[in-house]
């Protein structure tokens, strides 16, 4: 048996290698090792790039480079008038990948769809706990356990989702990585063999690429899946060369050791742009960096004080020093690239003198406060400590003394949620599904103690938020969210700092790569000219 397996492995390696002589290969310098290849248990962007976007497909898909959705494994769907029932018609003839470790005997059907969700949802499902202590955080984080009532198999190619309450973002949610469709037949096979763990180590999906090999912390290899329902890819081999240091990734790209790289360091961008063999694509990130006041604590419970502090901060200086040109000042809590962004809202002007006067008028003198700085670099805020220092200096000009505090990353977020938290708290958000609600919910009354670090519960804003969630008409939702942004700006629970730009340097021979507003790196449709 062992000999047979070795032979099979050698055969696979030989076939991959044999094809390599003429194969079109794309090497992507990725930033981190994936925790596994099951698309649902993990929540890191690098996990998704390596699993859901390469190996798997979903019922609906985001259009390349956009946040609008299009049919995926479901070729059509209908929504009941009350918004509680979504019936999906599955695309017939969709093939799961055939590899040296799995040969499917049937095409995708409703059982696969139901299994893909129930394993994350129902504790009695034997796959709920197949990885010790998996939290299915995204499924839970998007509110699916409360949202789903049942998933019904109408026939082999029809599946119905019944919800407990209407959810306008339900379709975009199904385009998210955690909602990738996995093979029930493969799961059953592993169950029988007693090797469930293999589900995440040797993945099977219906996506554009099939898994070939993973050398831990080093290289992931994929091959184009001939049976992909969207058509075979132009590149034959896709390779992820895991390179954690951004400066080293940049060197590898320059040296031709990879064709495309993720997350360049801001300091390297100019050098990469100057290289004649490279091009650097850029896009506004679907994100926001902000600083949340604790609106329940005096004097930050007064709108005038929050406004005055906002007016004291020189955002341009922050953009120059920290974002180094790779960002734009944020005015609203949602980025300008998102639909329903209210262009008419003006930012609080930078005016230290007026700010000082406003504070005095509000009866606030000798204010001492804390500025919280994240200990990590994030796309929406590359250096929170530097931002804090700049804000501290700006505050000093209006007579406010600020002390900068920081904690270990998980502790930082936990302490930030405390209702009696002292001071203003820096954080940010990157969108999941392109829906404005996916940003504005951060400030909802329900989110206090979770993602609402301003501890701000404004009834007018909350009513608009709920109204937006219950409305399906996009034009009407746009109006609702535009109004919500007006309330937000008037009440100023946050200092909106910046929306950062995202850069994607690549070799000029790479074509067809489209930057994704959701921060995903996907390689379907990419070509390499030799």
């Amino acid at each position: 048996m062992k000999k047979k397996l070795t032979f099979a492995a050698a055969l696979l390696a030989a076939s991959v290698l044999g094809g390599m002589a003429n194969a079109k290969q794309l090497v992507y310098c990725s930033e981190a090792s994936p925790a596994g290849f099951d698309p649902s248990p993990w929540s890191g962007g690098n996990d998704f790039d390596a699993s859901s976007r390469t190996i798997y497909s979903r019922l609906v898909e985001f259009e390349h480079g956009k946040t609008t959705i299009k049919p995926g494994l479901a070729e059509s769907w209908t929504v009941s008038d009350d918004g509680l029932e979504y019936t999906f018609k599955l695309r017939p003839g969709v093939k799961f990948q055939t590899t040296d470790y799995f040969t499917p005997t049937r095409d995708l059907n409703a059982d696969d769809v139901i299994f893909s969700f129930e394993r994350q949802w129902k504790k009695e499902n034997p796959w709920f706990d197949y990885l010790a202590g998996t939290g299915w955080e995204y499924f839970a984080g998007m509110g699916f356990p409360d949202l789903l009532k049942e998933i019904v198999k109408v026939d082999d190619l029809t599946v119905k989702f019944v919800l407990n309450k209407p959810e306008v973002a339900f379709l975009p949610d199904l385009g998210m990585d955690f909602a990738s469709i996995v093979s029930k037949e493969y799961a059953d096979q592993l169950d029988k063999a007693g090797t469930r763990q293999q589900f995440t180590q040797k993945p099977i999906g219906t996506g554009p690429f099939q898994f070939v090999d993973y050398q831990v912390d080093a290289v992931i290899r994929y091959a184009a899946w001939d049976g992909y329902y969207g058509g075979r890819q132009k590149i034959d081999d896709l390779i992820f060369a895991i390179t954690t240091d951004p400066a080293v990734r940049a060197q590898k790209l320059k040296a031709g050791e990879c064709d495309i790289m993720s997350y360049p360091a801001p300091a390297d961008i100019a050098g990469l742009q100057a290289d004649p063999n490279l091009k650097v694509d850029e896009q506004e990130g679907l994100n926001i960096g902000y600083m949340a006041y604790n609106t329940t604590q005096a004097p930050f419970d007064k709108v005038e004080v929050r406004k005055a502090l906002n007016m004291a901060v020189n955002k341009q200086a922050i953009l120059d020093a920290v974002y180094q040109g790779a960002g734009q000042a944020a005015i609203n809590p949602i980025p300008p690239t998102m639909w329903s962004y209210n262009k008419d809202i003006k930012d609080d002007p930078y005016d230290p003198d007026a700010a000082k006067k406003m504070l005095a008028d509000a009866g606030v003198t000798d204010l001492s406060m804390k500025i919280w700085a994240m200990p990590v670099s994030r796309p929406y805020n590359p250096n929170a400590k530097r931002v804090a220092e700049l804000i501290q200096a700006d505050y000093a000009k209006i007579g406010v003394k600020a002390e900068i505090v920081s904690y270990e990353w998980t502790e930082y977020r936990e302490r930030g949620k405390q209702k009696d938290r002292d001071g203003a708290f820096q954080l940010g958000w990157t969108g999941d599904n392109g829906d404005p609600d996916n940003f504005l919910f951060l400030l909802g009354c329900d989110a206090i103690g979770q993602s609402n670090y301003a501890i701000w519960c404004n009834q007018e804003f909350e009513a608009l938020l709920q109204k937006g969630k219950a409305t399906t008409d996009v034009a009407e939702r746009t109006k609702i969210y535009e109004e919500a942004q007006v309330v937000f700006k008037r009440e100023a629970p946050w200092l909106t700092i910046a929306h950062s730009k995202v850069f994607m340097p690549m070799n000029k021979k790479v074509s067809g790569f489209v930057m994704d507003p959701l921060g995903i790196h996907r390689f379907d449709g990419v070509d390499v000219t030799e």
Binding site: L17, V27, G133, G135, D217, V248, Q251, E257, W409
Partner: protein
């Protein structure tokens, strides 16, 4: 000799327990929480948090957690990584050959250059060569590894294009690992150019990792040689008219070797520590990078078991050095 060995082994057992306790405590003393770290920025609901803490047993008294941990380790079960859900021992076995290969080549470089440099510096004491060697050794010893690695990459890989930037072998070579040692596997694979590619990928990381041990070995060899060269028996050997090469090579160097061998043994620890940074810069898939990732993710299981396994290996190497020491100098056994 057996008694000596048993005596050394008896010392190791309490040390192992001490280290297991220190590793267990260290990761729990770090601020942060494994469940929250795993949940990522989206966070986790208080109910699910309570459920997971219960599930992993992190709500029980530390003593109970430690005893259960050590009980499992004694049966060879090092646990399952919280982050990747893979067995810690399996991950270690997959990654360790990469670190061992890198550390071995680095140690060979350090010994092959460090010892002759130290000997020459001692023999030519006060000469320009001595001063230059010791100056370079001091610089090497003080060099921040991360900066040094990046500098070499920019110059040799980026500017001159002589060496690959990072990784273990060119991506065009794909074969399943047989031993985990890329130099050997590339030879076995029979692919033309594979060995050359693997060797060229080793050069820069090995030089970076060898820098500090090389400096230490050169300085130690020099001072040991200087001490021995001043001894009466060396003078006597010289007076007898023996060739200088024979005096230095046989009479002096052999006696200077004892502290040098000890120093080389101690460098194993330095190599393991250096591997953490070297592997991170060169994307070298070894246990150094693995540990760093585990600490960042507060992966309690990987950190406590990984540290213990590494400590066991370092102690085993030191035991071998002690035995070697006793072979070189029989007086030590008696003492």
């Amino acid at each position: 000799m057996l008694r000596y060995l048993l005596h050394k082994l008896a010392l190791i057992i309490p040390t192992v327990f001490g280290i297991s306790l220190a590793a267990f405590a260290f990761v729990r003393l770090l601020p942060g929480d494994p469940i929250l770290a795993l949940a990522g920025e989206r966070g986790v609901s208080p109910e699910r948090y309570a459920e997971l803490i219960e599930r992993f047993g992190y709500n029980r008294p530390y003593v109970v957690q430690y005893l259960e941990y050590i009980g499992r380790v004694l049966t060879g079960d090092f646990g399952i990584s919280l982050a990747t859900k893979r067995p810690v021992l399996g991950e270690f076995q997959a990654l360790f050959p990469a670190t061992l290969e890198l550390a071995t080549i680095a140690l060979i470089i350090a010994v092959l250059i460090g010892i002759p440099a130290g000997i020459f510096a001692a023999v030519k004491r006060g000469s320009w060569f001595d001063q230059a060697t010791m100056g370079v050794a001091l610089t090497g010893y003080s060099m921040p590894i991360f900066w040094w690695g990046l500098l070499l990459i920019i110059f040799f890989s980026g500017y001159l294009g002589w060496t690959p930037v990072s990784g273990r072998i060119g991506l065009q070579y794909f074969f399943r690992p047989t031993t985990g040692f890329m130099l050997i596997d590339s030879l076995i694979s029979g692919k033309s150019g594979a060995f050359r590619s693997a060797a060229s990928h080793l050069i820069l990381p090995a030089i970076v990792l060898a820098t500090i041990p090389l400096a230490v070995i050169a300085r130690q060899t020099r001072s040991a040689m200087l001490e021995v060269l001043g001894e009466d028996y060396v003078r006597t050997a010289r007076a007898k008219g023996l060739a200088p090469r024979r005096v230095i090579g046989l009479h002096a160097f052999r006696n200077a070797l004892i502290p040098v061998v000890t120093t080389i043994g101690l460098q194993v620890g330095t190599l393991m520590a250096g591997a953490i940074l070297t592997e991170t810069i060169f994307s070298w898939p070894g246990i150094g990078k693995w540990m760093i990732d585990a600490i960042a993710k507060r992966d309690y299981v990987v950190v406590q078991s990984g540290l213990l396994i590494i400590a066991l290996i370092v102690m085993a190497v030191n035991l071998i050095v002690d035995v070697l020491y006793a072979v070189i100098n029989p007086r030590i056994r008696v003492q």
